[in-house]
């Protein structure tokens, strides 16, 4: 066994605390990406312009690619014989660990861009940190996803500025979108025991440490978009513990229906 793989070897033992922690963390990351992908894919064939349709679908596919790699790894590490499809299609809403932000409905185009801006401004530095994770496989997945999220961030930032600093109507809508989505961003940086253990082990970063950078990025964009940062108040959460909004159930029903109706079907 090489020195590199030996580093992450302790995490590979099934039943081991570290492995259980990592599975939980991979599900959080993977579910964020999977649910974001499903929501973005709802724009397919419905975006305001054909070029934007391709862009949103492209971003959805990036998220889906990251979700597949993360969930596959979670399934292997868990050791219960579940693959990416089992995890995506056969869990109920209470078993999903995504943040509430990604499951919120798309709303109008401004809401979709506000959600994407906040998510990408979080995923980009997070994946950047994880690219240096003590767990080699997670580091590899993150290194690839980091490049993709840089593009997502730029795309959402361009649109936020264009709409915020656009017409009266686009400004009104963009401001309403930012106000509506803002409370859900707090959950991204909430910490708990699992995150602290993984942080100590050098496997993951405590997301609270990413918030300053996130605020920096987001405030610059909002400023350029002539929008003001909403006041912090209500902080909905619970997604990491499987407590979701009703929107996730409807999303899962649509995402899982074919797989549940035809288990094991292939084409």
């Amino acid at each position: 066994m090489s020195a590199r793989s030996a580093r992450s070897a302790p995490g590979r033992r099934v039943g081991d605390r570290a492995a259980t922690d990592l599975v939980g963390y991979l599900l959080r990351l993977g579910d964020d990406a999977l649910i974001a992908a499903q929501r973005l894919a709802e724009w397919s064939s419905r975006a305001p312009e054909m070029e934007e349709d391709i862009a949103l679908t492209n971003i959805a596919l990036d998220q889906l690619g990251a979700a597949r790699a993360l969930l596959t790894y979670a399934g292997e590490l868990e050791g219960a014989g579940r693959d990416e499809d089992d995890l995506a299609y056969l869990r109920t809403d209470r078993e999903f660990a995504n943040c509430l932000l990604v499951e919120l409905p798309n709303g109008d185009f401004a809401v979709t861009m506000a959600k994407l801006l906040f998510l990408a401004a979080y995923q980009h530095p997070l994946y950047g940190w994880l690219a240096g994770s003590a767990d080699d496989r997670l580091a590899g997945i993150a290194a690839k996803a980091r490049k993709e999220s840089a593009y997502h961030l730029e795309h959402a930032a361009l649109w936020t500025v264009r709409l915020g600093d656009g017409t009266d109507e686009s400004h009104r809508r963009m401001r309403a979108a930012v106000d509506e989505v803002w409370p859900y961003t707090h959950e991204l940086f909430a910490t708990d025991d699992l995150l602290e253990r993984l942080d100590k082990a050098g496997v993951a970063v405590n997301p609270a440490a990413v918030r300053d950078g996130w605020l920096d990025t987001v405030e610059k964009v909002l400023d350029e978009a002539t929008l003001t940062r909403p006041v912090d108040g209500w902080t909905p959460g619970g997604g990491r513990r499987g407590l979701h909004t009703e929107h996730l159930s409807y999303l899962l029903a649509e995402m899982q229906v074919v797989h549940r109706a035809h288990p094991g079907a292939t084409w």
Partner: protein, 94 residues
């Protein structure tokens, strides 16, 4: 949206050392977005390492009506082709 986004012509350089070639056009509201869209539409399958976008309205093109005046006069000027030289042996690419 009351009016359509402006049209952009897209040029992609397939790899280092080659020139940018015209690959098509697209609609976008501004230059940065045009670049992003060009990346999505024309380089999805690793077709390029560099992209140019140019507002289609900025391109001055020769007219089909001028085709005869522009291009026919070159037809009988064979001496413009460098084919009247003895190529030394061993020179493969001249």
């Amino acid at each position: 949206m009351s009016e359509q986004w402006p049209l952009w012509e897209v040029f992609v350089r397939p790899r280092r050392g080659l020139a940018h070639g015209h690959v098509g056009s697209l609609h976008a509201p501004d230059p940065r977005m045009a670049l992003q869209h060009a990346r999505d539409v024309y380089t999805r399958r690793q077709e390029g390492v560099s992209i140019w976008v140019v507002p289609a309205a900025e391109i001055t093109a020769s007219s089909p009506d001028e085709k005869d005046a522009y291009f026919d006069p070159a037809a009988d000027k064979v001496y413009r082709h460098p084919t009247f030289y003895e190529v030394p042996e061993g020179v493969d690419h001249l």
